[in-house]
Homo-oligomer: 251 residues x 2
């Protein structure tokens, strides 16, 4: 019995769900969930999985208790269960992957972690808008919950200086209603007002909508925490109401 | 007959295949291929699809004839076929999406384009290395085939200045054997020599291998055009031979 426990494969998958529906998940991600004894994640994401994986044990912790949720994964794995920790988008892009590795140091070293990548909002949002990220680009989150605002400001300036296309995550929340405006004002210091931009709400879920606009218009756009914003580079153009950043074939 | 042709839905899917295997494709991407009458792409990618989609008509053009390959898609769509144009990774990230929109201007406006996102090498490579892109990051291609080297250099400098984590695509080719060295030298002007880095070869295909190293070691690494490189930000650490960029929970 003790021997069996020793050799038992203790495994945690850290799974990126993509924008939400099972349609946008990879086969590999679906397999990991199917192979798991328990699925752990934020309740909103677990709800999205109930249609296909309702037969699985599911566990959650309240919002903002991410660290406790991670420890829950290790606690379950230590009991011999195969665990999937789910994040929306890609678990390795503003998701739980890094925290899981940090917390792994508190636990037995025989628990294996495997990250299964998913479609992040930069990819899924870009696909809806056309091809805004078809050359070098940056992703910047405007959430200053875990990052000082000065650092975010510096990154916006550097991104503009490097003429990167930019995807902006977490552009707004109730407490940070004016953050997108502040970010656009920083970009407008060096970018022209009519720089082609766009934003997408509720990517891959009910009520998906997008808009193509200028940087000046993006500054005043009504966005929420389910919106991803895109700012073109100096070569980005609008073709048939889509945002297109050329790769450079000189067409 | 003419009427039927007029109302016929002329559709081109621009499909991101992810790193290579069907396992890493989304259900949505697999559905688009299944729905298509013809699949067009670079021969290497078509070969990867032959196991699952060998019953489909497939067409290609030689390497470097990307623009002709795009026109081929529109020519087939004009004849009423549903077409899938496949790219590895994400079609909207250094893929064919933007060129397809640019070329669409030469054709009938009733051909509908839809981009289906895929897992780009930044996501799939990061998953193998741990969680190197778990905070704001940039993707920069070192290929100067379509981009002046001065612009690439400027972007590397801006990315370092903004303390972004960085994913580097196309770090080398036969003609550009020393480009990764040149890029690392630029980063080393402001980053410390022992900045945690890593690289992955043949992501998601046979012979996948990865290495965690310092920036000074990355400078001298033997990489090829199937390698993706990752450079940590100032907070990135190595945990159990994985590259981890904290999201900032202060663990």
């Amino acid at each position: 019995m003790f021997f069996r426990k020793d050799v038992m494969n203790k495994k945690i998958y850290i799974v990126g769900m993509g924008p939400g529906s099972e349609e946008a998940m990879t086969r590999e991600a679906l397999k990991a969930l199917e192979e798991s004894d328990i699925i752990i994640g934020y309740t909103v994401y677990l709800d999205l999985l109930k249609a296909g994986f309702g037969h699985k044990e599911m566990k959650s912790t309240p919002m903002k208790q991410e660290v406790e949720r991670c420890r829950m994964c290790f606690d379950e794995a230590e009991q011999g269960k195969t665990v999937s920790m789910v994040s929306s988008g890609d678990a390795g892009i503003y998701g739980m992957a890094s925290i899981m590795y940090e917390i792994s140091l508190e636990y037995d070293s025989d628990i294996e972690l495997q990250v299964i990548p998913g479609i992040t909002a930069a990819s899924s949002g870009a696909a809806i808008l056309g091809a805004p990220l078809n050359h070098d680009f940056c992703i910047i989150s405007l959430s200053d919950l875990l990052t000082p605002w000065e650092k975010i400001e510096k990154r916006l300036k550097s991104a503009a200086e490097g003429d990167f296309a930019i995807a902006i995550y977490n552009p707004s929340s109730k407490k940070r209603a004016d953050y997108l405006m502040k970010a656009c004002d920083i970009l407008l210091e060096t970018m022209e007002e009519d720089r082609p931009c766009g934003y997408v709400k509720n990517i891959g879920r009910e009520g998906t909508e997008y808009r193509i606009c200028t940087l000046a218009e993006l500054r005043d756009a009504q966005v929420d925490m389910f919106t991803t914003c895109f700012i073109g580079n100096s070569q980005t153009k609008i073709i048939d109401n889509k945002l297109v950043t050329p790769r450079g074939y000189g067409l």
